[in-house]
């Protein structure tokens, strides 16, 4: 059991740090370059082939490690050193609650493809994202710089405000699924909603079975998807919600006095946060690892005819993991599209948008979903 957990942890960390983080960093640069009609990273090359800048993240990582870490005069020594770790560690821990597969039974053992199958699943994401925000606030305070202090105040206000809107925006999904556990949400979404009544008077025959929608969160409550994604992006201080680190206004805000490894850790925290948000959105709204129209039972029963039950389960596991990664990457791409296509919100505009826009919308959505659930009878979508 312990060995299995160790293997899972190493696999997840490996995929994250070697695969997803560089990919996301590259997407962030290359895709925004394409969107803004720029060339993008073009210097790093292997024998003059730039590969679209694919090696740029590696070069960046080496540069961060090789450069000197400067501590400004008058900075708080302990907190200035501690802040990057405080920003990064909670974000890495969040990865543990994201399920990257479903639950499988091989023989008598049960395998759950998630590191920590937490009962309170999504709530850990909320708690840890606030803690990570604290790291940014402390970074800004400890730098002994006016720009950094301004960034810290903005980041603090943003962290608290986003938490409220973000938590409220996810409440309808708890009501629909009846669980907080992310792996259970995946199981509940691994089925289809028939279009039943709408098409019942047509004679569709076999096709009727396929004329259905997957019971994903985005299908059941699209408003919830939009509000949560935007609030989560705001909580992680990504553009266009990055007034706390606005380069053209306060010169980088809370991280302005960081260089070398410290800056690298902050940037890593930002990129991992992007991946984690994509993971949570996938688990809650995009069916987790479920493949549309092909539920787990269906895949296993179809394949086990040829290869036997155990091997069929393994194949299903692989298919699920690939489906999960595909969804994850597409949510990352979606986030980068949103980043690139909106101008930055001023900090007072951001507060307005969160408190007077997102929060009432989320509350309204809770009431509407509640009415529908009660009217339909007992919930369950």
């Amino acid at each position: 059991m312990t060995l299995l957990l160790l293997a899972k942890t190493l696999t997840v960390l490996g995929v994250l740090l070697v695969g997803l983080v560089p990919l996301t960093a590259w997407l962030e640069r290359r895709q925004s370059a394409l969107m803004q009609d720029r060339v993008g990273p073009a210097r790093v090359n292997v024998a003059t082939a730039t590969l679209g800048g694919l090696l740029q993240p590696l070069a960046d990582a080496i540069a961060r490690l090789a450069k000197e870490s400067v501590r400004p005069r008058g900075a708080d020594r302990v907190l200035h050193a501690l802040a990057p770790a405080l920003a990064l560690v909670p974000v890495i821990v969040m990865v543990a609650v994201i399920p990257f597969g479903a639950r499988y039974t091989i023989g008598s053992t049960t395998l759950s493809l998630v590191l920590a199958d937490a009962d309170a699943g999504v709530l850990w994401f909320f708690a840890l994202s606030t803690l990570s925000g604290l790291g940014f606030v402390l970074a800004g305070w400890s730098s002994n710089s006016d720009y950094a202090l301004l960034g810290a105040v903005r980041a603090g206000a943003q962290t608290v405000s986003c938490q409220i809107a973000m938590a409220l925006s996810l409440v309808p999904m708890f009501a629909i699924y009846g669980t907080l556990r992310l792996s259970d949400m995946g199981l509940v979404q691994d089925r289809s909603i028939g279009l039943g009544g709408l098409l019942s008077n047509l004679d569709l025959g076999v096709a009727a079975e396929w004329l259905s929608l997957p019971a994903w969160g985005i299908v059941q409550n699209p408003v919830c998807f939009a509000t949560f994604l935007l609030c989560a992006m705001a909580a992680s201080r990504q553009p266009p919600f990055d007034s706390s680190s606005a380069g053209s206004e306060i010169a980088g805000g809370h991280t302005v006095e960081y260089s070398g490894v410290g800056l690298g850790l902050f940037q890593l925290a930002g990129v991992v946060q992007l991946v984690v948000i994509a993971g949570i959105v996938t688990a809650v709204f995009l069916g987790g690892s479920a493949i549309p129209w092909l539920s787990q039972d269906r895949i296993i029963s179809a394949v086990s005819g040829f290869y036997g039950e155990g091997f069929a389960t393994l194949i299903c596991m692989g298919a699920h993991a690939i489906a999960f990664l595909l969804k994850l990457v597409s949510v990352i791409v979606l986030q980068v599209v949103l980043r690139g296509s909106m101008p930055r919100l001023r900090d007072d505009q951001l507060m307005d948008w969160l408190w007077k826009g997102m929060m009432p919308l989320a509350l309204l959505n809770i009431f509407a979903t509640g009415f529908v659930l009660v009217a339909v009878g007992g919930g369950g979508g």
Binding site: L79, F126, A127, L131, S142, T159, V160, Q163, G178, T179
Partner: protein, 217 residues
């Protein structure tokens, strides 16, 4: 010594050390807030260990996260430091840290020699175990049904239905941290306190806006 007791000791030591550091060592308000953050995080860990995930994670969200950010923000906004003070001598800080260490030592001795009932709050010995181990065991027990019919076994309707107590999923939930049981307790048997609480929160919001929002002139 089981892993659970070891974890409890480590978290308790961290909580007591950072609490002592906050009171004794921290010179600036920001340093105190950082120590408070460490202490509250450790307390949340202990709550998860003994009381189930829900209370622990809610404590971490509200107090470890939001309240600490709020305290820090106020420190930054009103400039609570009154300028940076000169650094204290290294020897003083060393003695203070020694004091914190002594506090942790006393804490561990007191915690482990406390006389009393010996009623377990955790561990597999008790019937109503709360903890990650028990949760996964219960999940495994439930699993065969869940794997075959996820939607049926986990059907959310069970949560809203009065007969939830008879449903296997409800039984699982009582054992493993119990957000469903907590929800039923809050919204059924403790509905009046909850409503009064919401009024209190509303008046707190209005009151603090009225107090702090007023311009100084």
């Amino acid at each position: 010594m089981s892993a659970e007791v070891l974890l409890f000791d480590v978290l308790a030591a961290l909580a007591v050390f950072s609490a002592a550091a906050m009171v004794i060592v921290a010179r600036t308000a920001v340093a105190a807030a950082t120590a408070l953050l460490a202490c509250l995080t450790a307390v949340s860990g202990i709550l998860v260990l003994i009381g189930g995930e829900l209370v622990g994670v809610v404590h971490l969200i509200v107090h470890g996260g939001a309240v600490t950010v709020l305290l820090l923000m106020i420190v930054l906004l009103v400039g609570a430091e009154g300028g940076r003070r000169p650094a204290s001598r290294v020897r003083d800080t060393a003695f203070k840290l020694l004091g914190c260490g002594a506090a942790v030592g006393i804490a561990l001795v007191v915690v482990h020699t406390a006389p009393g009932t010996g009623v377990p709050v955790s561990g597999v010995e008790s019937g109503a175990t709360i903890g990650p181990g028990a949760a996964s065991a219960a999940a495994t027990a439930l699993h065969p049904a869940a794997a075959l019919h996820p939607a049926a076994a986990l059907h959310p309707a069970a949560a809203l239905h009065p007969a939830a107590a008879l449903h296997p999923a409800a039984a699982l939930d009582t054992i493993s941290g119990g957000h469903r049981a907590m929800g039923l307790a809050l919204f059924r048997s403790h509905l009046l306190p909850l409503q009064v609480l919401s009024l209190l929160l509303l008046s707190a919001v209005v009151g603090s806006v009225a107090l702090a929002g007023r311009r100084a002139d």
